[in-house]
């Protein structure tokens, strides 16, 4: 009974409330396109201490987060594509830490690593690299000689990854998609495409609209970070 009276009450100023609802909905739609601004990720990169270096066509941004993490991004200035993103991973026991590449080609080691335990994948084994384009998230798995019909690639939202399987049981990989995780977006099977040539399996995932929006906006935002003029030289003479 009470509820009913409530309804009638609302009914009383029908005109006004309709406008309100419309407004609310509009702002919701507006917000949805910018909802990435509410994610922890976006806030953390806004709050991070950023410094910028410009080298020819490449813009390098160094982020220092509140929790002492460090990240470097490299953008191509012309195409606005993110060429490389790497994280500095420190061991629990301390030490200098090393860079782990999330997107882009791995950084060649300056010094041969002696201390790593001497078991490594053979050179001819499959290796995954990330290389994003303007519209796609891309994984390239080199050294996979099997024909395209061998592979089954599926989106798995429970484990939040793309799973690559082979019918001959020779290769299996769970590919994390940190970009979507950060925005809390679901993986969709329909967005996945793949091709295979020159022993390389290329998996493409179409960037969803919110991600595209965010990247565009963020690139604009980064223009505010002024590049350091006098570049610190790597080889200081003492």
């Amino acid at each position: 009974m009470k509820r009913r009276s409530n309804l009638i009450e609302v009914d009383g100023d029908n005109q006004d409330s309709f406008e309100q609802i419309l407004k609310a909905n509009l702002s919701k739609i507006y917000k949805q396109s910018e909802m990435y601004k509410n994610t922890a990720w976006y806030r953390s990169i806004v709050d991070a201490e950023k410094s910028c270096l410009k080298e020819d066509k490449i813009k390098k941004i160094h982020y220092k987060f509140d929790d002492d993490k460090e990240m470097v991004e490299e953008y191509n200035v012309d195409t606005q594509v993110l060429l490389r993103r790497a994280w500095k991973v420190k061991g629990k026991l301390g030490g200098d830490g090393k860079w782990v590449v999330e997107i882009g080609d791995p950084i060649p080691e300056a010094t041969p690593t002696i201390e790593v335990a001497d078991i490594v994948e053979s050179k001819d084994q499959p290796i995954v690299t990330r290389r994003n384009t303007r519209v796609n998230l891309e994984w390239r798995i080199r050294n996979l000689p099997y024909p395209i019909e061998t592979y089954s690639i599926s989106a798995n939202n429970d484990e939040r990854c793309i799973i690559v399987r082979t019918t001959n049981k020779k290769y299996f990989k769970k590919l994390q998609v940190p970009e979507l995780d950060r925005l809390g977006l679901q993986l969709e099977q329909g967005n996945i495409q793949s091709s295979h040539q020159f022993q390389t399996l290329i998996i493409m995932y179409k960037k969803p609209q919110p991600l595209l929006d965010m990247e565009k906006e963020w690139f604009e935002e980064l223009k505010k970070v002024k590049p350091i003029k006098d570049m610190p030289s790597d080889c200081k003479t003492q």
């Binding site: 030490g95 010094t111 002696i114 790593v116 001497d118 299996f172 769970k174």
Partner: protein
């Protein structure tokens, strides 16, 4: 038929034994039963019951890990098993308790101060058990291939093929990995995990798929499923690292040259302090556990007065390990002073120690030890040869008798005998002089040697040089 089988057995042996036979490689523990009572002959240990019992009490003390900075002195004549007891203690403690073994003379180096060397040794003897995320390879072994590289370099190359139910990968291995694979006797069909950071191999069992070739497996073989999914996983594993290793990791920021030299040089005291406070923090948060280990200093009389006073102080710190020293000296000069002291160790340090004496072996014990050494060196010895050898051991020294085992077995091999006879032992006894006969010889022919007219000056010079 029998000879083929024998040849095969030999081959297997040569693969599994990768450790060389050392003076104490027959020691596998202290030879104590569960109530820490010494057994007469066990785990390579013979006799010396009181000392072993004492070592058992020390072992209990270390295991409980509550008491820091105790020192134990093993004192006894040469060849009475001081080092053997320390080695047995290390074996009994197991691989997870850090055990650092050094000789007293090791600390004298031009690159490092004596106290730094001692500090490093002390910090090497304290372990921290810490949970860390690590890359783990987990899979069933498909194939292990080990071959010598072409070109006579002799470097071994290894390839390991592992699989899960979903994938298969080849790995290249270096020499260390090959050794530990051989040590663990990993073969096709085993399910193993390898910690990529430390190279530690853990055998989980045999794959169910291989359950049919039952005659190839032992009775207690455990069968497990072949793992699924990816071969490489990130997992939380418990690592044991020593404080010294943490020091090294954190002091390596300057330059990569330290990587090549392997020598870490001196570590700044600030870094050590930082790490100490960090470790204390971890312990409070329950993230890490401290395992006080053992520092064994052989020939402790070679340490000088500065080292002793440093040890005095270092033992008082609550992160100090249990220090075991061994010496074969009686009342002698303390190095670096003109004072005499028992065992060449200052009285104030001696006062902080518990002293475990070792006594000379009896005839029967010597025979037992020689028998064990014969087994260890794969040497068949006839009964009377062993009797002669035991006599030699009582009359000269145990070490000399042990030297004769190898030499006699080589002589026996020359005459294509399978067993070492009394004649072989006699032959090598006449070929190689023991210390006493050598001295006799020198006394007899002293006049014909060089610089013999120097007279009594030489010993005095030695004293000064020391």
């Amino acid at each position: 038929m029998a000879s083929i089988a024998a040849a095969q057995v030999q081959e297997v042996r040569s693969i599994t034994r990768i450790e060389r036979i050392g003076a104490h490689s027959h020691i596998r523990g202290l030879g104590l039963d569960d109530s820490l009572e010494p057994r007469a002959v066990s785990q390579g240990m013979v006799g010396q019951k009181m000392a072993r019992k004492a070592a058992g009490v020390v072992l209990q003390m270390i295991r409980e890990g509550k008491i820091a900075g105790r020192a134990v002195l093993l004192a006894g004549q040469p060849g009475t098993g001081k080092t053997a007891i320390a080695m047995g203690l290390a074996q009994a403690l197991g691989p997870d308790t850090p055990f650092t073994s050094m000789a007293g003379s090791e600390i004298f180096s031009l690159e490092m101060s004596k106290t730094e060397a001692l500090t490093q040794a002390i910090r090497k003897s304290i372990g921290i058990r810490i949970k860390e995320e690590s890359e783990i390879i987990e899979g069933e072994v498909v194939e292990v291939v080990i071959e010598r590289a072409a070109g006579g370099g002799g470097a071994r190359v290894g390839r390991l093929t592992l699989k899960t139910t979903d994938m298969e990968t080849n790995y290249d291995m270096g020499a260390k990995m090959i050794d530990s694979l051989l040590k663990e006797k990993v073969q096709a069909g085993d399910v193993i995990t390898i910690d990529k950071a430390t190279g530690k191999i853990n055998k989980l069992g045999r794959s169910f798929a291989r359950a049919r070739d039952y005659d190839a497996t032992g009775q207690q073989a455990r069968f497990v499923q072949c793992p699924e999914g990816e071969l490489q996983k990130r997992k939380e594993v418990v690592h044991t690292v020593t404080l010294h290793e943490v020091d090294v990791i954190n002091s390596r920021t300057h330059g990569f040259l330290a990587l090549f030299s392997g020598d870490t040089g001196e570590i700044k005291s600030e870094i050590r302090e930082q790490i100490n406070s960090k470790v204390a923090e971890w312990r409070e948060e329950g993230k890490a556990e401290m395992i006080p280990g053992v520092l064994f200093i052989d020939e402790a009389h070679m340490l000088d007065i500065e080292c002793f006073s440093f040890l005095n102080r270092a033992l008082e710190s609550e992160t100090a390990p249990v220090v075991i020293m061994a010496t074969n000296r009686g009342i002698t000069r303390i190095r670096g002073t003109n004072y005499q002291s028992p065992h060449g160790i200052p009285l104030d340090l001696l006062d902080r120690m518990i002293i475990v004496p070792t006594s000379p072996y009896s005839h029967q014990e010597l025979r037992e030890i020689l028998n064990i050494r014969c087994e260890e060196e794969d040497c068949q010895m006839s009964n009377d040869a062993l009797t002669v050898l035991t006599r030699v051991a009582t009359e000269t020294s145990l070490r000399y008798a042990i030297q004769l085992i190898t030499t006699a077995s080589l002589v026996a091999k020359r005459r294509k005998a399978t067993e070492v006879s009394m004649e072989d032992v006699k032959k090598v006894y006449s070929l190689f002089l023991d210390e006493h006969r050598s001295e006799q010889f020198l006394k007899e022919y002293q006049d014909e040697f060089m610089f013999n007219d120097g007279g009594g000056d030489a010993p005095q010079l030695m004293e000064v040089a020391q």
